[in-house]
């Protein structure tokens, strides 16, 4: 029997296999940020262990960084929150002491860890990539095995460049057909999560297959793979193809010359064999997917924008009903309200899910020549400094500011509000990020997850909207 892509990636990285023990996997790249690493470096220090492969370890600052400073930036004085500043300074000290390359705030290569890896050509097909961050699944868009780990595992990878792991099962998510106009990769993944529930992918490495993903840009594929964790999947991936190779060619760390040809030949073999079998399969029809928004407090609580807030009484399962009731109470919503009537205070365009150049272009295209609705605050936060520079070269920043949006520096920002970009209690946002958990964007804040197109249209109308609503 043939192998799935996930199995090929796994088998290609087994350092050691023994009956009754987890496989020992080699890690090709370890991405590090300030939040989940301090205790790991501390562990190394206490045990007197070095970083085994500093050349396969890359750090950046993203979660705590403010987004309202001006360049050039030399120190950390723009970080007003003392605890945030300590965390950033600790990362700098640790990288210095252990010889790890760091892209700090203000550096051209700084940005959200999952945006900079692909951008620098560090994320390549066939690799294993880990980071102390659950959205590491993003890198699976290149046909890599990429997953989030906890701090104990961060320490383990720093010390050994390996991880002991049991092999998860495999699942295929197939979406064939044509997506209707205005339906984006974000809508596709929100629809997948609404179908499977937040736990549907638990224990699986998921491969997204079918014409919808084949026709998607690399950035769209990253959006999809990014949110794999939101339905519990250990990893999400898409087989590399010409789109992948075109994206990578010429990037800083991409192979060059004869090595490029060797690499492409190898990458082309990274496909699920025709006779391979998945442990589970999910199928969606592309034509049935519409612009999607969430109404509740987990990413599985979503519905097409044209729908109404669901009635918890309609839930078949008791625990789903209780969860829906609790979610509506937290969100301050009443069953039966059209989703389009929900008024927002804030729109956030950014994050590792939708903070890339195509996302900013999509939002700018809608906001071009229009004005943000009265009383709505709009934050546009590029995923990296390079995305920011590119957007400025294309004049997107001018479009955003002319519309009345704020144009910010790069970072995780309001996706999780570890920096000052937060919702106030009771405030409601339309957010292109990945989690609508209670308090995620600030204590008491209410989050609706949306695509960049819906975010931009919502900014203009002030209520949850799609671009089609602007023409009506």
């Amino acid at each position: 029997m043939g192998k799935t892509l996930a199995e090929k990636l796994w088998d290609g990285h087994v350092v050691r296999q023994a009956v009754g023990e987890p496989d020992l996997l080699f890690i090709d790249m370890h991405l590090v940020h300030e939040v989940t690493s301090p205790q790991a470096f501390d562990g190394l220090r206490v045990a007197g262990r070095p970083v085994h492969r500093p050349d396969l370890t890359l750090a950046t600052e993203d979660h705590n960084t403010p987004t309202d400073y001006t360049l050039p930036l030399l120190g950390t004085e723009s970080i007003k929150d003392e605890v945030s500043r300590t965390q950033i300074e600790t990362l700098r000290r640790n990288c210095d002491e252990f010889g790890v390359r760091l892209y700090p705030m203000g550096n051209d290569n700084q940005g959200i860890v999952h945006v900079i890896g692909p951008q620098l050509g560090i994320t390549q097909p066939g690799m294993t990539i880990v980071c102390g961050d659950s959205h590491t699944s993003t890198h699976g868009a290149f046909g890599a095995l990429a997953f989030g780990i906890g701090t104990s595992q961060v320490e383990h990878v720093l010390a050994t460049q390996t991880l002991p792991m049991d092999r998860p099962k495999t699942m295929a998510v197939t979406v064939d057909g044509e997506l209707p106009d205005g339906v984006t990769p974000k809508d596709v993944i929100l629809a997948v999560i609404a179908k499977t529930g937040t736990g549907g992918g638990q224990g699986y490495m998921v491969e997204y297959r079918g014409s919808v993903f084949e026709n998607m840009s690399m950035e769209g594929r990253m959006t999809v793979c990014n949110m794999s964790i939101e339905w519990g999947a250990r990893a999400g991936m898409i087989a590399p193809d010409q789109t992948t190779f075109d994206y990578l060619e010429g990037r800083d760390h991409a192979p060059k010359g004869a090595e490029w040809d060797d690499a492409v030949a190898y990458w082309t073999s990274l496909r699920t064999d025709p006779d391979a079998e998945f442990d589970a399969e999910v199928v969606l029809d592309a034509a049935a997917i519409a612009p999607f928004v969430t109404w509740g407090t987990n990413p599985g609580q979503g519905a097409p924008l044209a729908a109404t807030v669901p009635d918890p009484a309609d839930c078949e399962d008791d625990s789903d009903r209780v969860a829906a009731e609790k979610a509506l109470q937290y969100m301050g919503l009443t069953a039966g309200t059209p989703l389009r009537d929900i008024k927002v205070d804030t729109v956030f365009v950014g994050s590792c899910t939708n903070g890339r150049i195509e996302d900013l272009r999509a939002a700018a295209q809608i906001m071009d020549g229009r004005k943000v609705a009265d009383g709505v605050r709009v934050l546009v936060v590029p995923g990296s400094m390079l995305v920011r520079q590119q957007a400025e070269q294309e004049g997107l920043d001018a479009i955003f500011t002319a519309a009345g949006a704020e144009w910010r520096q790069a970072g995780c920002s309001m996706c999780l509000g570890m920096n000052p970009d937060q919702l106030a209690p009771g405030e409601r946002s339309a957010s292109t990020s990945n989690r609508n958990f209670e308090g995620r964007q600030g204590k008491g804040g209410r989050t609706h997850l949306v695509s960049p197109l819906v975010a931009a249209a919502t900014a203009i109308r002030g209520t949850l909207s799609s671009p089609a609503d602007l023409e009506a």
Partner: protein, 197 residues
């Protein structure tokens, strides 16, 4: 990590599903660079906003086993969620289903996560409701949970069980295989990226 063989204590019923790690510990508590002292962040939003929240009820004081609904620990990979539970005094979390990253983190840090079927969890909730002082035993050696005549087996692979019972450090175990790691490194594809300082 301390060795874990068996634990007996009282339990708290957390009758919620999809308890994500942002609820277990909000991001604002993740800014610390130490490994201890996270107990104040545990369920901080629920503890401060809901007077009836289970951890605000004195009858559960001193409990060391958390009994939660399905899909516990979803979302962010923050191991701080495990540390917060441990620092607060929990030794065991029981749920019908855990998110993978949370479960991996917990078993590495010495917090035992036990999966029991939903109807057994419901029965345990009912019994705790009746008697908050109910003693529950979680046994890694026998791989079962016991209370008041009830005995329910749970799955725990042999390797993890052995590691827990011996209190072994994963890194130390892996460093026994440096030869295998070196051999693998020797054969990696030549084009793979490196980020030398």
């Amino acid at each position: 990590m301390d060795a874990f063989t068996t634990h007996t204590g009282t339990a708290v019923p957390l009758k919620r599903s999809n308890v994500d790690t942002d609820q277990i510990i909000p991001a604002v508590y993740l800014k610390r660079v130490t490994r201890t002292g996270f107990e104040d962040g545990l369920f901080s939003a629920w503890r401060s906003n809901e007077p009836d929240f289970v951890l605000n009820q004195s009858r559960y004081d001193g409990a060391s086993i958390l009994v939660a609904g399905p899909d516990f620990g979803t979302g962010s990979s923050r191991e701080h969620a495990v540390w917060a539970l441990l620092d607060y005094g929990f030794k065991v979390v029981i749920s019908p289903r855990f998110a993978d990253i949370f479960r991996g983190n917990s078993l590495k840090a010495g917090l035992l996560t036990v999966q029991l079927p939903e109807k057994i969890v419901q029965r345990l909730w009912d019994d705790i409701d009746e008697d908050a002082a109910l003693e529950v035993t979680v046994d890694v050696v026998e791989r079962n949970v016991r209370w008041r005549g009830e005995v329910h087996d749970f799955d725990l692979d042999n390797y993890t069980r052995w590691r827990l019972m011996e209190g072994l450090d994963d890194i130390g175990l892996t460093l026994r295989h440096t030869d295998a790691i070196a051999a693998y490194e020797h054969n990696r594809k030549p084009w793979l990226p490196k980020v030398n300082v």
